[in-house]
């Protein structure tokens, strides 16, 4: 309960960001948790280090909202793994959220740039 109350804005922003990254990763096709974590790390040139554990609550939340769906499958090296795929609802969300993110980044940049120049 204490967790929920702590720094909601920050938490929300970060959480939203992770959600966005997961959705973006899945646009390439279904993937299991491990792959998702690594894709995010690689594509951010290892800047965004995802603590693998925190990925799963986020996946659970997204599945709850029906933005992604899951199924059991077999991994590249023949391990049983849970795969996630994007739902049409999730795709719509991704577009919307990406737009919002761009807006946010532009806005923040406009505020920050004059100071650094």
């Amino acid at each position: 309960m204490a967790k929920r109350g702590a720094a909601p804005l920050q938490g929300e922003v970060l959480q939203g960001t992770l959600d966005l990254l997961i959705l973006q990763t899945l646009i390439l096709g279904p993937a299991h948790g491990h792959t998702i974590a690594h894709v995010i790390e690689h594509r951010s040139d290892e800047v965004l280090q995802v603590e693998h554990g925190s990925l799963y609550p986020a996946l659970h939340r997204l599945e709850d909202r029906a933005w992604i769906a899951s199924f059991w499958g077999t991994s590249e090296n023949n391990r049983k793994a849970r795969y996630y795929r994007l739902t049409p609802k999730g795709r719509k969300q991704l577009i919307q959220q990406t737009g919002r993110w761009d807006q946010l980044v532009r806005a923040i940049n406009r505020v920050l740039k004059p100071a650094t120049e």
Binding site: H34, E51, H52, G53, Y56, D64, S75, R82
Partner: protein
Amino acid sequence: MSWKRFFRREKWDDERAQELRAHLQIEADENVSRGIPSTEARYAALRKLGNATVVREEIYRMNSLGFLEVLWQDVRFAVRQLRKSPGFTAIAITTLALGIGANSAMFSVVDVVLLRPLPYRNASRVVDLFERRPHENELKVPVAPGDFYEWRDKAKSFEQLAAVDDDTFNLTDTGEPQRVSGSDVSPGFFEVLGTQAVMGRTFRLDDERKGDDRVIVISDGFWQRQLGGDVNAVGRTLLLNDVPYSIVGVLPPDFKFPFATRSDIYLPISLTQKDREDHGAHYLTVVGLLRPGVTLNEAQAEMDLLSAQMEKEYPGVNTGHGVRMITLRTALTGDVQPALLVLLGAVGLVLLISCANVANLLLARGKTRERELAVRAALGSGRSRLVRQLLTESMLLGLVGGVFAAAVAYWTLDALRTTFFTHPNNFALAGIGRAVIDGRVFAFTLFISLLTACLFGLAPALAASRVDLSGALKEGSRGSSTGDRRGFRSALIVAEVALSVVLLAGAGLLLRSFVNLIRVDPGFRPDHLYSVNIDLPTKHYATQRQTNVFSDQLLARVRNLPGVSSAGLVDILPFHGDESRGAMHVEGRVPKPGEHARLHAREVTPDYLRTMGIELIRGRDITNADVPGGKAVGVISATAARTYWPGQDPIGRRFTFNDEDKDWIEVVGITADVKHNNLAADATPDVYLPFAQKTENDPVDSFELAVRSTQAPNELESALRSQVRAIDANLPVGKMQWLVHLISDSIVPQRFNVMLLTIFAALALALAAAGLYGVISFSVGQRTHEIGIRMALGAQPRDVLRMVIGQGLWLVLVGAVIGVAATLSLTHVFARMLFGVGASDPLTVFAVVTILGCISLAACYVPARRATRIDPIEALRYE
């Protein structure tokens, strides 16, 4: 959050664990492929993942509904706790089931009588109209036809007014001749109640015209029973009193005219023009449908004005007459309402005592659970969490108690129904027979169970949650919060005792009233006294001479039956519901303005008084010499003598029912008073007139044959039937009645009240005694150490006994004083239900206190006795 996942979250969690394991394996596989040794690879994977359990917990929490989760936990814990102490649980649930069940049963009765809408479409606008004679202190006089027709023509407050008169018919054309009850109604009757026929029609205004009135509407019951549910019943003809009537309509199955026990046949009231202008004979029941928007008070104001005009227009007959209007609800339930409310209050008190008892048990349990609660508090349970847990236990007790209570209520109502509700009396009138245990009653039971649980659970929960950690956890400590709690428990006992005293006193007063009531001398000897009703159709018995021929033959035959010691005829037998009287004039007595002398007149044959066992005080009985055309004579009752001939000898004096023609009737004898319908009512002025002398063209067409016989009732009944049939094969004979039953039926409501209140009081006393016993035993258990020391220091068992019993009796004394004070201030509630006993009767109070004292002494003695057996050495070592 999906509910599905909430209930399957164990399985869901398994899957998460599996998923996380897979993740670790894949990561480890990759690490190995990068050339890291497998143990190291596994640790690296684990480090990378973080705390898997925290992840699972987070997801698990996302799948649960916070409060529901806790509730479920609490409920399971509560079930475990309750199962751990089956004795406590059983006692608590039994106490609650009795308390709540009695309340539900009582509620089902009150609900149907006082709360539910009456089963008539227009019920909310229907009023019952009476006449009243304020100077004679009479408020419920039936309406005279002259008054009714005048109201109907002139009153504007009503959409419709209708009159009803009870009637019975001889039905002769469907098999064996039989008696059928019915009602003569004015055509607007069904319109007033809002009832429509399911087949055919009800009455039209023109059905009232003489000649067009040979139509009837029948009840559903009659249609099923007599006509076999014939779909072509409308249009069929029935012979009633040897006159053909055609059926025009069949009523809905649930229809029942409120003021009749059973009415199978309705026909348009047929009154001659002379009858319609009669303002003196009062016998009609009148119901009216108020116009929408007109209030009872507005209508009453109009009727007051109208009756004032009528007093002027018809001086004499209408002088001193007013109109009294009450709602249909009040008319039907007014008589039983006060008693029902008193009983509902009483049963509420029983529930309060149940609550106090269970609260007491919980408090005692709280003491023994002090350590458990302290441990939980020490481990981080907040106070609100502990209270919530304890309240859940109470709620569970309440709910389980409620379930058993529903069963208790069902059986109770069943018992009440067969014992009390089947007789024709005030209860039947109020529709009490419709009481059922249904959804409403269940909802009430549920509500009251939860309310009760809060009531008995909250205080103990709050007390128990206030744990003193350091004290409670110390080994062997007796805790430090007991003093305060013992005070609360004592207060509960005082309250229980006080409530019990109120109930016991109430029951005692009703019991004394009831004993007084059944000791009332009805004025006749009902044992071995039977009666059957006989109606003579006026078509064949048009004159009193014809009727006399029949009655002489009948009596001669009946007197010769084996076992019959005497027999007589009367037009209206006591306890047959009729209260009609006639206005009369005493020779030489000038009435005060507005005053009417009235007598209840009975037409009797010579042997009637002897058959009934009505004592002849002076003068002579009606004899065979009192023949038609002979001198008109009458035998009056003691009350009539005292009222109208005060300080004189009435014998030889004269009076008349017909002021114009001066048909004087001479008083020839005085009898003891007789109760007509109500043992509790004051005696009325009566006169017995010779049956044979009834007006030639207006014969007695309906009368009772009263028989005193030692014969078995069923043999007597068939013998009487065959004697009647031997004289006239077409005459049906009504069901034979035993006068003893008629009298006992008349006091069913009183018996209901006294029995229920006595049961409630006994229950209250038992609960209070059990509570007292519990508190004293518990206190003895707590004081083992102290008592041990006292005994070691030389206290004798006698001293210990006195100390423990003294502690209990002190509580009882305080409770009794409060209870007696409460009773004395509450008695006005009872006053109307009492008979022959004062509301603050000292004998009752004394008896109640004595009974309470004895029971309390017994309840305290057992634990006190145990205290004297405490072995000081054992007690001191116990530390």
